[in-house]
């Protein structure tokens, strides 16, 4: 129950966590050259281990490897027993609890609350792609760093 309480705290403080993550993401994207020098593959295991610890504590993270927390009010959709990543199912109980696990608040009821406090809360409107099961257990941070750094580098590369 301790973990569950932390998870609810994280949703209540979604705005704070959002700002923190935005700063964190800027840094890890900027450090892309360093990651490259060390080698993303070599970093994968240790970084994933850290990520599992940190996000496990804060969000009950399931390490899907394609983090959607910024679009889901800091309420991890992989904790939904149906793994729904685009909104609640129709089975939510009148008290806002889960159909499958009645002792738990619906992940998406929390997601909606969390997203309303966030600056970029409207990201909850984005349609999420199906889960890529090959990414399971991998670091989402490293993936974001590599992809965003790559996306930034590309237009410049073309211009020069």
């Amino acid at each position: 129950m301790g973990m569950y309480a932390v998870r609810l705290w994280s949703v209540r403080h979604s705005r704070l966590l959002e700002s923190f993550y935005q700063g964190f993401e800027r840094i890890i994207v900027r450090l892309d050259p360093l990651w490259k020098r060390i080698g993303y593959e070599r970093l994968e295991q240790p970084v994933a281990a850290v990520e599992r610890q940190v996000k496990g504590l804060l969000f009950d993270c399931q390490m899907c490897g394609q983090c959607a927390l910024s679009s889901t009010g800091m309420s991890c959709p992989m904790n939904c027993p149906k793994n729904l990543r685009n909104g609640p199912c129709g089975g939510v109980r009148a008290n806002g609890h889960c159909e499958v696990k009645p002792e738990m608040k619906c992940v998406w009821v929390k997601a909606w609350e969390g997203s309303q406090q966030m600056l970029e809360g409207k990201a909850i409107l984005d349609v999420q792609k199906p889960v890529d099961n090959t990414l399971k257990g991998h670091s989402s941070w490293l993936r974001v760093a590599r992809e965003k750094a790559g996306a930034r580098a590309q237009p410049e590369g073309r211009a020069s």
Binding site: R85, N86, P88, G90, G91, A94, W108, L125, V127
Partner: protein
């Protein structure tokens, strides 16, 4: 005698420009008529006649028949199986696909299979949790969710390719539907969620059972604010309650069903509860019909196709609309 072309006994019909499907349901909806769909209870039987007998009762009073996909997580004949039988006889069907029991490889295959059998409408559902059924040990799949399922089928239809990018030679010509439950929390997110499903490809919506008109009206007001009623056809779910006891049971045991206390009190106070339940359903249909943005009703009743037929006839929603002629019974050798 001129037969209303909407009631051509054969489904699929010739293609029309701008239509996604060749089904009658899409024609009815686009023509602005108040559409009626009804749910068929799948048999626990290997006999195709049971499917036909149940469908025949419904087909005379509705525009399309829903074939459920192990709803309540109880397995019955699969929706692809039911649809394969019904389309052979010229019935218009809405094939339900839930994400609970199949991964994306199976689902994409079933979509193509359904289209090949002549299915014109697919309803994309999440699916009830396995804990609700009689085999709670089954593994829940949920590889896709209902929204990504909509987008997947839209991609297959409009871009002629699988999720992997591989080409499809004949794309599935289907009208895409989704479910909505305006009667479950988070209430203010529900219209937004509907918008998300529309963005992912939903063209029509069938809602959970409605027994609470004020709640539906609030939902629909928000839907109109978002202009969603112009982007999809909304069919509101209704169903006759057999008794106060049934109502209580449903409220506790069927996920997502909301029945206000007043409704149960009304049934309890009635001398003939079953009749009262039927009358209540008819009244609900008539009230729902008056709400701006509602395109039709979806009538459901567990194992009571005859009752559904009575309710629809008595509600007058099919008045001035020629009921569809009896579906062709397939020749015995074709189904055997």
């Amino acid at each position: 005698m001129i037969v209303d072309p909407l009631y051509d006994p054969g489904d699929p019909l010739p293609p029309l420009p701008g239509h996604s499907s060749r089904g009658r349901l899409e024609r009815v909806l686009r023509s602005g008529k108040f559409a009626v769909t009804a749910e068929l209870n799948p048999p626990d039987s290997a006999d195709p006649r049971e499917v036909f007998e149940r469908a025949l009762v419904l087909s005379e009073v509705c525009d399309a028949i829903n074939a459920t996909d192990a709803s309540g997580a109880n397995t019955h004949m699969s929706s692809v199986g039911i649809c394969s039988l019904l389309t052979r006889a010229g019935y218009a069907v809405i094939m339900q696909i839930s994400c609970r029991d199949r991964n994306r490889i199976a689902i994409q295959g079933d979509v193509l299979g359904a289209a090949a059998m002549g299915v014109s409408n697919i309803l994309c559902l999440t699916g009830d949790g396995v804990q609700a059924g009689d085999q709670p040990g089954a593994k829940p799949v949920f590889d896709l969710d209902s929204t990504s399922l909509l987008e997947t089928i839209r991609t297959m239809r409009d871009e002629k390719r699988f999720l992997s990018g591989r080409k499809i030679t004949v794309p599935p010509a289907v009208l895409l539907g989704a479910a909505a439950n305006p009667f479950a929390p988070p209430y203010d997110y529900r219209p937004i969620h509907l918008g998300k499903k529309v963005a992912a490809g939903a063209q029509f919506i069938q809602t959970q059972y409605c027994y609470d008109i004020p709640l539906l009206e609030r939902f629909m007001a928000r839907v109109r604010d978002l202009d969603l009623h112009k982007k999809c056809f909304i069919l509101v779910g209704v169903g006759p309650l057999a008794s106060a006891k049934t109502a209580r049971w449903m409220r506790t045991n069927v996920p997502g069903v909301h029945i206000p206390d007043q409704v149960i009190a009304r049934l309890e106070g009635a001398q003939k509860q079953k009749l009262e339940g039927k009358n209540l359903c008819i009244e609900l249909i008539q009230q729902i019909r008056e709400i701006e943005g509602v395109a039709g009703v979806h009538v459901m009743a567990y194992r009571q196709e005859e009752l559904v037929s009575d309710v629809i006839s008595a509600s007058g929603i099919m008045k001035n609309r020629q009921p569809r002629p009896q579906a062709r019974r397939p020749a015995k050798e074709r189904i055997a």
